[in-house]
Protein backbone atom coordinates (compact mmCIF):
# COMPACT_ATOMS: atom_id res chain seq x y z
CA UNK A 1 0.00 0.00 0.00
CA UNK A 2 1.08 3.55 -0.71
CA UNK A 3 2.76 5.04 2.34
CA UNK A 4 1.69 8.50 3.51
CA UNK A 5 4.05 8.75 6.47
CA UNK A 6 4.99 12.36 7.07
CA UNK A 7 2.53 13.73 4.53
CA UNK A 8 0.80 16.80 5.89
CA UNK A 9 -2.38 18.54 4.80
CA UNK A 10 -2.01 22.30 4.94
CA UNK A 11 -4.91 24.72 5.00
CA UNK A 12 -3.89 27.87 3.17
CA UNK A 13 -5.69 31.20 3.40
CA UNK A 14 -5.39 33.42 0.36
CA UNK A 15 -6.34 36.95 1.32
CA UNK A 16 -6.72 38.40 -2.16
CA UNK A 17 -6.74 37.51 -5.83
CA UNK A 18 -2.96 37.90 -6.09
CA UNK A 19 -2.47 35.31 -3.37
CA UNK A 20 -4.93 32.96 -5.07
CA UNK A 21 -2.81 33.28 -8.21
CA UNK A 22 0.27 32.55 -6.14
CA UNK A 23 -1.24 29.25 -4.98
CA UNK A 24 -2.18 28.43 -8.56
CA UNK A 25 1.50 28.83 -9.44
CA UNK A 26 2.32 26.40 -6.66
CA UNK A 27 -0.25 24.00 -8.11
CA UNK A 28 1.65 24.01 -11.40
CA UNK A 29 4.93 22.88 -9.83
CA UNK A 30 4.58 19.21 -10.71
CA UNK A 31 7.82 18.09 -9.09
CA UNK A 32 6.36 18.86 -5.63
CA UNK A 33 3.68 16.17 -6.20
CA UNK A 34 1.04 18.24 -4.41
CA UNK A 35 -2.48 16.91 -4.07
CA UNK A 36 -5.03 19.70 -3.78
CA UNK A 37 -7.98 18.47 -1.75
CA UNK A 38 -9.67 21.83 -2.08
CA UNK A 39 -8.22 23.91 -4.89
CA UNK A 40 -7.59 27.63 -5.06
CA UNK A 41 -10.85 29.42 -5.81
CA UNK A 42 -11.70 32.80 -4.38
CA UNK A 43 -10.01 34.93 -1.75
CA UNK A 44 -11.26 33.83 1.66
CA UNK A 45 -12.04 30.25 0.62
CA UNK A 46 -9.77 27.77 2.34
CA UNK A 47 -7.32 25.83 0.19
CA UNK A 48 -6.34 22.37 1.43
CA UNK A 49 -3.34 20.59 0.01
CA UNK A 50 -1.68 17.30 0.85
CA UNK A 51 2.07 17.74 0.79
CA UNK A 52 4.36 14.70 0.57
CA UNK A 53 7.10 14.67 3.19
CA UNK A 54 9.97 15.50 0.79
CA UNK A 55 8.14 18.65 -0.39
CA UNK A 56 7.09 20.05 2.97
CA UNK A 57 10.10 22.27 3.46
CA UNK A 58 9.89 23.75 -0.03
CA UNK A 59 6.16 24.41 0.19
CA UNK A 60 6.37 26.10 3.56
CA UNK A 61 9.25 28.26 2.38
CA UNK A 62 7.20 29.23 -0.69
CA UNK A 63 4.15 30.11 1.39
CA UNK A 64 6.10 32.10 3.94
CA UNK A 65 8.10 33.92 1.28
CA UNK A 66 4.87 35.09 -0.36
CA UNK A 67 3.13 36.01 2.86
CA UNK A 68 0.53 33.26 2.53
CA UNK A 69 -0.91 32.18 5.87
CA UNK A 70 -1.39 28.49 6.55
CA UNK A 71 -2.16 26.05 9.31
CA UNK A 72 -1.45 22.34 9.52
CA UNK A 73 -4.82 20.64 9.07
CA UNK A 74 -3.49 17.08 9.29
CA UNK A 75 -0.11 16.55 10.94
CA UNK A 76 0.50 13.04 9.58
CA UNK A 77 -1.85 11.53 6.99
CA UNK A 78 -0.61 7.99 7.62
CA UNK A 79 -1.53 8.08 11.30
CA UNK A 80 -5.14 8.92 10.37
CA UNK A 81 -5.12 6.12 7.79
CA UNK A 82 -3.81 3.69 10.42
CA UNK A 83 -6.65 4.72 12.74
CA UNK A 84 -9.12 4.21 9.91
CA UNK A 85 -7.80 0.71 9.15
CA UNK A 86 -7.84 -0.25 12.81
CA UNK A 87 -11.43 0.91 13.11
CA UNK A 88 -12.44 -1.12 10.05
CA UNK A 89 -10.73 -4.23 11.38
CA UNK A 90 -12.29 -3.77 14.80
CA UNK A 91 -15.77 -3.43 13.35
CA UNK A 92 -15.29 -6.68 11.40
CA UNK A 93 -14.18 -8.62 14.42
Amino acid sequence: KEDFVGHQVLRISAADEAQVQMVKELEDLEHLQLDFWRGPAQPGSPIDVRVPFPSIQAVKVFLEAHGLRYTIMIEDVQSLLDDEQEQMLASRS
Binding site: K1, F36, R38, I74, V77, Q87, M88, S91
Partner: protein
Protein backbone atom coordinates in the same frame (compact mmCIF):
# COMPACT_ATOMS: atom_id res chain seq x y z
CA UNK B 1 -20.07 -10.76 6.81
CA UNK B 2 -23.50 -9.35 7.65
CA UNK B 3 -26.29 -11.85 7.16
CA UNK B 4 -28.97 -9.22 6.98
CA UNK B 5 -29.12 -5.50 6.32
CA UNK B 6 -30.29 -5.13 9.92
CA UNK B 7 -26.97 -6.41 11.24
CA UNK B 8 -24.86 -4.58 8.65
CA UNK B 9 -22.62 -2.01 10.35
CA UNK B 10 -23.51 1.37 8.81
CA UNK B 11 -21.05 3.19 11.07
CA UNK B 12 -17.91 1.84 9.46
CA UNK B 13 -16.33 1.97 6.03
CA UNK B 14 -16.66 -1.07 3.79
CA UNK B 15 -14.87 -2.62 0.83
CA UNK B 16 -16.41 -2.93 -2.62
CA UNK B 17 -17.20 -6.60 -2.03
CA UNK B 18 -18.99 -5.82 1.23
CA UNK B 19 -21.04 -3.08 -0.42
CA UNK B 20 -21.96 -5.33 -3.35
CA UNK B 21 -22.99 -8.05 -0.89
CA UNK B 22 -25.08 -5.49 0.97
CA UNK B 23 -26.92 -4.68 -2.28
CA UNK B 24 -27.72 -8.34 -2.81
CA UNK B 25 -28.99 -8.68 0.75
CA UNK B 26 -31.20 -5.61 0.42
CA UNK B 27 -32.67 -6.76 -2.89
CA UNK B 28 -33.30 -10.24 -1.46
CA UNK B 29 -35.02 -8.82 1.63
CA UNK B 30 -37.28 -6.47 -0.39
CA UNK B 31 -37.97 -8.17 -3.69
CA UNK B 32 -41.13 -6.12 -4.31
CA UNK B 33 -39.30 -2.83 -3.84
CA UNK B 34 -35.61 -3.23 -4.67
CA UNK B 35 -33.88 -4.64 -7.69
CA UNK B 36 -30.24 -4.58 -8.73
CA UNK B 37 -29.43 -3.53 -12.28
CA UNK B 38 -26.08 -3.79 -13.97
CA UNK B 39 -25.62 -0.74 -16.18
CA UNK B 40 -22.14 -1.59 -17.40
CA UNK B 41 -18.69 -2.82 -16.50
CA UNK B 42 -15.78 -0.71 -15.34
CA UNK B 43 -12.49 -0.32 -17.22
CA UNK B 44 -11.03 -3.20 -15.21
CA UNK B 45 -14.15 -5.31 -15.71
CA UNK B 46 -15.99 -4.86 -12.44
CA UNK B 47 -19.77 -4.74 -12.67
CA UNK B 48 -21.38 -1.33 -12.26
CA UNK B 49 -24.58 -1.70 -10.29
CA UNK B 50 -27.57 0.53 -9.68
CA UNK B 51 -30.27 -0.18 -7.12
CA UNK B 52 -33.74 0.48 -8.45
CA UNK B 53 -36.45 1.27 -5.90
CA UNK B 54 -39.86 1.00 -7.47
CA UNK B 55 -43.39 0.31 -6.29
CA UNK B 56 -44.63 -0.51 -9.75
CA UNK B 57 -45.67 1.20 -12.94
CA UNK B 58 -43.83 1.37 -16.19
CA UNK B 59 -40.94 3.75 -16.74
CA UNK B 60 -42.20 6.10 -14.07
CA UNK B 61 -40.63 9.52 -13.62
CA UNK B 62 -37.46 8.91 -11.71
CA UNK B 63 -34.89 10.36 -9.37
CA UNK B 64 -31.24 9.46 -9.82
CA UNK B 65 -28.74 9.57 -6.94
CA UNK B 66 -25.09 8.59 -7.30
CA UNK B 67 -22.34 8.46 -4.72
CA UNK B 68 -18.64 7.88 -4.98
CA UNK B 69 -17.65 8.96 -8.47
CA UNK B 70 -14.45 10.19 -6.80
CA UNK B 71 -13.23 7.05 -5.15
CA UNK B 72 -11.40 8.52 -2.16
CA UNK B 73 -14.51 10.32 -0.92
CA UNK B 74 -15.41 7.36 1.26
CA UNK B 75 -18.16 9.06 3.22
CA UNK B 76 -20.20 9.27 0.02
CA UNK B 77 -20.27 5.51 -0.68
CA UNK B 78 -20.95 4.93 3.01
CA UNK B 79 -23.83 7.42 2.90
CA UNK B 80 -25.18 5.72 -0.22
CA UNK B 81 -25.40 2.44 1.67
CA UNK B 82 -27.26 4.18 4.48
CA UNK B 83 -29.67 5.86 2.00
CA UNK B 84 -30.49 2.49 0.46
CA UNK B 85 -31.46 1.05 3.82
CA UNK B 86 -33.33 4.24 4.75
CA UNK B 87 -35.45 4.02 1.61
CA UNK B 88 -36.59 0.52 2.52
CA UNK B 89 -37.28 1.56 6.13
CA UNK B 90 -39.21 4.73 5.37
CA UNK B 91 -41.40 3.48 2.56
CA UNK B 92 -44.80 2.86 4.09
CA UNK B 93 -43.78 4.64 7.31
CA UNK B 94 -42.99 8.21 6.37
CA UNK B 95 -46.00 9.64 4.48
CA UNK B 96 -44.02 12.25 2.54
CA UNK B 97 -41.44 9.73 1.38
CA UNK B 98 -44.08 7.10 0.65
CA UNK B 99 -45.84 9.56 -1.67
CA UNK B 100 -42.59 10.01 -3.57
CA UNK B 101 -42.02 6.30 -4.08
CA UNK B 102 -45.68 5.67 -4.89
CA UNK B 103 -45.29 7.95 -7.88
CA UNK B 104 -41.65 7.87 -8.85
CA UNK B 105 -38.76 5.42 -9.05
CA UNK B 106 -35.42 6.02 -7.40
CA UNK B 107 -32.14 4.84 -8.91
CA UNK B 108 -29.17 4.74 -6.54
CA UNK B 109 -25.63 4.06 -7.76
CA UNK B 110 -23.62 3.57 -4.57
CA UNK B 111 -20.18 2.96 -6.10
CA UNK B 112 -19.96 4.97 -9.28
CA UNK B 113 -16.23 4.36 -9.75
CA UNK B 114 -15.65 0.75 -8.63
CA UNK B 115 -12.08 0.44 -9.95
CA UNK B 116 -10.99 3.58 -8.16
CA UNK B 117 -12.78 2.52 -4.99
CA UNK B 118 -11.16 -0.93 -5.00
CA UNK B 119 -7.80 0.78 -5.56
CA UNK B 120 -8.32 3.05 -2.53
CA UNK B 121 -8.75 -0.09 -0.42
CA UNK B 122 -5.88 -2.08 -1.87
CA UNK B 123 -3.13 0.31 -2.92
CA UNK B 124 -3.69 4.04 -2.54
CA UNK B 125 -6.28 5.51 -0.18
CA UNK B 126 -5.93 8.89 -1.90
CA UNK B 127 -6.90 7.73 -5.40
CA UNK B 128 -9.59 9.94 -6.97
CA UNK B 129 -9.81 9.07 -10.67
CA UNK B 130 -10.75 6.06 -12.76
CA UNK B 131 -8.06 3.46 -13.53
CA UNK B 132 -8.02 3.67 -17.31
CA UNK B 133 -4.76 3.80 -19.22
CA UNK B 134 -3.95 6.74 -21.47
CA UNK B 135 -1.91 5.91 -24.54
CA UNK B 136 1.32 7.87 -24.64
CA UNK B 137 1.36 8.53 -20.91
CA UNK B 138 2.59 6.61 -17.91
CA UNK B 139 -0.06 8.29 -15.76
CA UNK B 140 -3.28 6.44 -15.02
CA UNK B 141 -6.88 7.53 -14.74
CA UNK B 142 -9.31 10.23 -15.76
CA UNK B 143 -11.31 12.52 -13.52
CA UNK B 144 -14.82 11.20 -14.18
CA UNK B 145 -16.29 14.53 -13.10
CA UNK B 146 -14.52 16.28 -15.99
CA UNK B 147 -15.36 13.65 -18.62
CA UNK B 148 -18.99 14.56 -19.43
CA UNK B 149 -20.06 16.17 -22.66
CA UNK B 150 -20.75 19.61 -21.22
CA UNK B 151 -18.13 22.21 -22.04
CA UNK B 152 -15.73 19.30 -22.31
CA UNK B 153 -12.08 20.38 -22.19
CA UNK B 154 -12.79 23.99 -21.25
CA UNK B 155 -11.53 25.82 -18.16
CA UNK B 156 -11.35 23.92 -14.90
CA UNK B 157 -10.18 20.64 -16.37
CA UNK B 158 -6.68 19.55 -17.28
CA UNK B 159 -5.35 18.11 -20.52
CA UNK B 160 -2.43 16.60 -18.59
CA UNK B 161 -3.01 12.86 -17.93
CA UNK B 162 -0.98 13.16 -14.73
CA UNK B 163 -3.32 15.77 -13.28
CA UNK B 164 -6.04 14.91 -10.78
CA UNK B 165 -8.50 16.80 -13.01
CA UNK B 166 -7.48 15.19 -16.31
CA UNK B 167 -10.54 15.30 -18.57
CA UNK B 168 -9.69 12.28 -20.71
CA UNK B 169 -9.13 11.99 -24.45
CA UNK B 170 -12.74 12.72 -25.34
CA UNK B 171 -16.09 13.18 -23.64
CA UNK B 172 -17.51 9.90 -22.28
CA UNK B 173 -14.17 8.15 -22.79
CA UNK B 174 -14.65 6.60 -19.34
CA UNK B 175 -16.99 3.63 -19.33
CA UNK B 176 -18.11 4.58 -15.82
CA UNK B 177 -19.44 7.86 -17.29
CA UNK B 178 -20.71 6.40 -20.57
CA UNK B 179 -22.73 3.78 -18.69
CA UNK B 180 -24.70 6.49 -16.90
CA UNK B 181 -25.05 8.54 -20.08
CA UNK B 182 -26.55 5.55 -21.89
CA UNK B 183 -28.82 4.74 -18.98
CA UNK B 184 -30.14 8.31 -18.68
CA UNK B 185 -30.72 8.58 -22.44
CA UNK B 186 -32.47 5.21 -22.60
CA UNK B 187 -34.67 5.97 -19.61
CA UNK B 188 -35.85 9.37 -20.91
CA UNK B 189 -37.91 10.08 -17.80
CA UNK B 190 -35.41 11.09 -15.12
CA UNK B 191 -36.63 14.27 -13.46
CA UNK B 192 -34.00 14.84 -10.79
CA UNK B 193 -30.32 13.93 -10.85
CA UNK B 194 -28.27 14.25 -7.68
CA UNK B 195 -24.56 13.49 -7.71
CA UNK B 196 -22.92 13.26 -4.31
CA UNK B 197 -19.31 14.11 -3.49
CA UNK B 198 -17.36 15.10 -0.40
CA UNK B 199 -16.00 17.34 1.09
CA UNK B 200 -16.38 21.12 1.71
CA UNK B 201 -20.10 21.27 2.53
CA UNK B 202 -21.76 22.64 -0.56
CA UNK B 203 -24.95 22.13 -2.53
CA UNK B 204 -24.45 23.19 -6.11
CA UNK B 205 -26.46 23.53 -9.29
CA UNK B 206 -25.35 24.24 -12.92
CA UNK B 207 -23.25 25.55 -14.42
CA UNK B 208 -19.57 24.85 -13.86
CA UNK B 209 -18.31 25.40 -17.39
CA UNK B 210 -19.91 28.78 -18.10
CA UNK B 211 -20.88 31.89 -16.20
CA UNK B 212 -24.33 32.01 -17.78
CA UNK B 213 -27.10 31.21 -15.29
CA UNK B 214 -29.35 28.25 -15.99
CA UNK B 215 -32.87 29.13 -17.19
CA UNK B 216 -34.27 27.74 -13.94
CA UNK B 217 -31.78 29.51 -11.72
CA UNK B 218 -34.31 31.14 -9.38
CA UNK B 219 -36.15 27.89 -8.75
CA UNK B 220 -32.95 25.87 -8.31
CA UNK B 221 -31.63 28.47 -5.91
CA UNK B 222 -34.81 28.31 -3.86
CA UNK B 223 -34.78 24.51 -3.78
CA UNK B 224 -31.11 24.54 -2.75
CA UNK B 225 -31.84 27.04 0.01
CA UNK B 226 -34.66 24.88 1.38
CA UNK B 227 -32.57 21.72 1.12
CA UNK B 228 -29.65 23.31 2.97
CA UNK B 229 -31.98 24.60 5.69
CA UNK B 230 -33.34 21.08 6.15
CA UNK B 231 -29.82 19.65 6.29
CA UNK B 232 -28.61 22.23 8.79
CA UNK B 233 -31.65 21.75 11.02
CA UNK B 234 -30.40 18.37 12.26
CA UNK B 235 -26.89 19.00 13.55
CA UNK B 236 -26.17 22.61 12.59
CA UNK B 237 -23.77 21.64 9.79
CA UNK B 238 -23.20 24.73 7.64
CA UNK B 239 -23.54 24.40 3.88
CA UNK B 240 -23.14 27.01 1.15
CA UNK B 241 -25.19 26.77 -2.03
CA UNK B 242 -25.15 28.27 -5.50
CA UNK B 243 -23.92 27.54 -8.99
CA UNK B 244 -20.67 25.59 -9.36
CA UNK B 245 -18.79 28.37 -11.10
CA UNK B 246 -19.77 31.12 -8.67
CA UNK B 247 -19.56 29.06 -5.50
CA UNK B 248 -16.27 27.23 -6.10
CA UNK B 249 -14.49 27.62 -9.41
CA UNK B 250 -14.86 26.87 -13.11
CA UNK B 251 -15.12 23.12 -13.71
CA UNK B 252 -15.86 21.87 -17.22
CA UNK B 253 -17.15 18.46 -18.23
CA UNK B 254 -19.06 18.01 -14.98
CA UNK B 255 -21.89 15.58 -14.33
CA UNK B 256 -24.80 17.87 -13.55
CA UNK B 257 -24.04 20.34 -16.33
CA UNK B 258 -24.58 17.48 -18.75
CA UNK B 259 -27.75 16.27 -17.05
CA UNK B 260 -29.18 19.78 -16.96
CA UNK B 261 -28.40 20.21 -20.66
CA UNK B 262 -30.26 16.93 -21.25
CA UNK B 263 -33.38 18.55 -19.80
CA UNK B 264 -33.16 17.24 -16.25
CA UNK B 265 -34.15 20.42 -14.47
CA UNK B 266 -33.46 19.32 -10.91
CA UNK B 267 -29.75 18.67 -11.30
CA UNK B 268 -27.72 19.11 -8.13
CA UNK B 269 -24.41 18.06 -6.72
CA UNK B 270 -23.47 17.82 -3.06
CA UNK B 271 -20.15 18.10 -1.29
CA UNK B 272 -20.70 16.43 2.07
CA UNK B 273 -19.12 16.96 5.46
CA UNK B 274 -15.71 18.20 6.39
CA UNK B 275 -16.71 18.84 10.00
CA UNK B 276 -13.62 18.40 12.12
CA UNK B 277 -11.36 19.23 9.21
CA UNK B 278 -10.47 15.68 8.28
CA UNK B 279 -11.06 16.18 4.57
CA UNK B 280 -11.36 12.84 2.82
CA UNK B 281 -10.41 11.06 6.03
CA UNK B 282 -13.66 11.76 7.81
CA UNK B 283 -13.83 9.47 10.86
CA UNK B 284 -16.32 6.63 10.53
CA UNK B 285 -18.18 7.94 13.56
CA UNK B 286 -19.43 10.74 11.30
CA UNK B 287 -20.89 8.50 8.59
CA UNK B 288 -24.36 8.17 10.07
CA UNK B 289 -24.76 11.84 11.07
CA UNK B 290 -23.57 12.84 7.60
CA UNK B 291 -26.03 10.50 5.91
CA UNK B 292 -28.88 11.54 8.21
CA UNK B 293 -28.50 15.24 7.55
CA UNK B 294 -27.97 14.70 3.82
CA UNK B 295 -31.12 12.59 3.66
CA UNK B 296 -33.16 15.58 4.83
CA UNK B 297 -31.78 17.66 1.97
CA UNK B 298 -32.42 14.82 -0.48
CA UNK B 299 -36.00 14.55 0.75
CA UNK B 300 -36.51 18.26 0.13
CA UNK B 301 -35.29 17.94 -3.45
CA UNK B 302 -37.29 14.76 -4.07
CA UNK B 303 -40.49 16.25 -2.66
CA UNK B 304 -40.07 19.36 -4.77
CA UNK B 305 -39.54 17.18 -7.83
CA UNK B 306 -42.72 15.22 -7.08
CA UNK B 307 -44.77 18.36 -6.51
CA UNK B 308 -43.49 20.26 -9.55
CA UNK B 309 -43.88 17.92 -12.51
CA UNK B 310 -42.58 19.17 -15.85
Amino acid sequence: WARSTNTFNYATYHTLEEIYDFMDLLAAEHPQLVSKLQIGSSYEGRPIYVLKFSTGGNNRPAIWIDTGIHSREWVTQASGVWFAKKITQDYGQDPAFTAILDNMDIFLEIVTNPDGFAFTHSKNRMWRKTRSLTSGSTCIGVDPNRNWDAGFGKAGASSNPCSETYHGKFANSEVEVKSIVDFVKDHRNIKAFISIHSYSQLLLYPFGYKRESPADKDELDQVAKSAVEALTSLYGTKFKYGSIITTIYPASGGTIDWTYNQGIKYSFTFELRDTGRYGFLLPASQIIPTAQETWLALLTIMEHTLNHPY
